[in-house]
């Protein structure tokens, strides 16, 4: 299978500090790839670069075997879903129900019973049945994280980039996330996950890369 991303000699500087020094790696669409490392090692930066949120880097990145720079971000957003590290930055509306509804209708069509039923099923799965109409800022960090992750089920057709998805999640939340990742893998779509707890994903992960001292090393998986 051809890689979704081919990262060649990627270097990135921030405030004159080197974050990545000519790193090379490949990410496949059907695999769950983990990026681990200490705080500030560049995991989030790597995710942002692959979602076209940080355009200034050196080296080449191929996306679907074409130059990544040549793609508009609108194309990237249609192919991938990105969950940012800061939970609140992923939320758009006042309530979990409204937030999920926007994923469905995108203000292009009217909300209807079928969409509502789908949302109800998702809320049940994520244990948010009793809070789906509460203001988001009144929910706990863990509940907010669940709302954000619930959006994944409305974007099953996309490749997921998840930046620290375990932050704020309890054990039950982690299990829900693992189950949807496993389900996603069965349908042939994987994810790129930046995490400090790679062991938590041992059941679903195919490859684990570690970023340390501006270099990347593959620690688990076939090369």
């Amino acid at each position: 299978m051809k890689p979704l991303f081919s990262v060649n000699h990627l270097s990135f500087f921030y405030d004159k500090k080197i974050i990545f020094d000519t790193i090379d790696l490949e990410i496949y669409r059907n695999e769950v790839t983990l990026i681990s490392g200490e705080n500030g090692c560049g995991k989030s930066t790597f995710c942002k670069i692959l979602y076209k949120s940080l355009p200034e880097y050196s080296g080449t990145i191929l996306f679907e075997e074409k130059n990544f720079q040549s793609f508009e971000q609108s194309y990237i957003t249609s192919k991938m879903m990105y969950i940012q590290e800061q939970t609140q930055n992923n939320l758009l509306c006042s309530t979990p129900d409204e937030d999920l509804a926007i994923w469905q209708h995108k203000f292009q069509k009217k909300d209807n019973e079928i969409l509502k039923e789908e949302r109800t099923r998702i809320f049940e799965r994520f244990g948010l049945k009793n809070v789906f109409e509460k203001p988001l800022w009144e929910l706990s960090t863990g509940q907010q994280k669940r709302v954000v992750l619930a959006g994944l089920l409305l974007n099953k057709h996309k490749f997921w980039i998840l930046d620290d998805p375990l932050f704020g999640l309890d054990n039950e939340g982690v299990n829900i996330l693992l189950s949807i990742l496993a389900q996603q893998k069965l349908s042939g779509i994987g994810a790129l996950i930046a995490t400090q707890r790679p062991k938590a994903f041992s059941l679903v992960a195919d490859k684990v890369f570690e970023i340390a001292d501006a270099h990347v090393t593959q620690i688990i998986g076939n090369k």
């Binding site: 971000q73 249609s78 990105y82 992923n90 758009l92 926007i102 995108k106 203000f107 292009q108 988001l136």
Partner: protein, 241 residues
């Protein structure tokens, strides 16, 4: 440069912009503002930010310019075509209002780039009560937070493949209210947490307060402040005369 010097320059320029009623004078003042923007910490990022802020408000300025130009019917007729008549006084007022607004916007934009804590230190340097300093600084902080929240919302819309311009007109209001209300609510919620944090830290429990950072005026701050004041008095004298 000390924040107090920034504030003095800002107060002088904005006061002069309100007192001047000649296009030439206002244009000179506007040019001075531009020079200030270039002198004070000029970075590519700063100019990009300034342009981003102004671009949004320029529409408002252009709208006001057109309104003044079309609906002020004083002075001599400069141009007439069908139902459009432009008068000399209308044109003059339109220019004055637009330049004045641009000056004020530039000054406000300069102030917004100063870290909010510097306002507290600057105002405390003038012996203002701490509560007042905090309130003024918090106002700047709130506006910047609101700006940041708006940026996050725009980014999130992009991530969800929503182009606001392409939303059907009859759904635009629904979209706008669904998006703007949480922006305000989130910003207010953060302010609430700031208030709680102040309580936890025992805000105003002790009448005396110490500061970890101190902002002392340097020799060039004194020179600029005195020069600015002298220029202000001189221009004021000319205007009154």
């Amino acid at each position: 440069m000390n924040t107090r010097t920034y504030l003095i320059i800002s107060i002088i320029i904005s006061t002069l912009s309100l007192m001047m009623h000649r296009i030439v004078h206002l244009s000179v003042l506007f040019a001075l503002c531009i020079v200030l923007v270039f002198i004070l910490n000029p970075t590519k990022k700063r100019f990009a930010l300034l342009w981003k802020r102004l671009r949004f408000l320029l529409i408002l300025i252009v709208f006001l310019f057109i309104m003044q130009m079309l609906f002020r019917h004083d002075g001599v007729v400069l141009f007439h075509w069908k139902f459009i008549t432009l008068y000399s006084e209308g044109m003059r007022i339109a220019f004055i209002v637009s330049i004045r607004l641009l000056i004020l916007l530039l000054i406000v934009s300069l102030l917004f780039d100063i870290p909010y804590y510097n306002f507290i230190l600057a105002l405390r340097g003038w012996k203002f009560p701490y509560e007042l300093c905090l309130m003024i600084a918090s106002t700047f902080y709130f506006v910047r937070m609101f700006e940041e929240q708006l940026r996050i919302t725009k980014q999130q819309l992009r991530f969800r493949e929503i182009n606001f311009g392409k939303i059907p007109l009859f759904r635009k209001f629904q979209a706008f209210s669904a998006i703007i209300f949480p922006v305000l609510a989130h910003a207010m919620h953060t302010v609430r947490y700031r208030a709680i944090a102040l309580d936890i830290k025992g805000f105003r429990l002790s009448p005396y307060r110490t500061y970890y950072i101190s902002q002392k005026l340097k020799w060039f701050d004194y020179v600029i402040q005195i020069l600015a004041f002298l220029v202000f008095v001189f221009i004021l004298y000319i205007i009154i005369k």
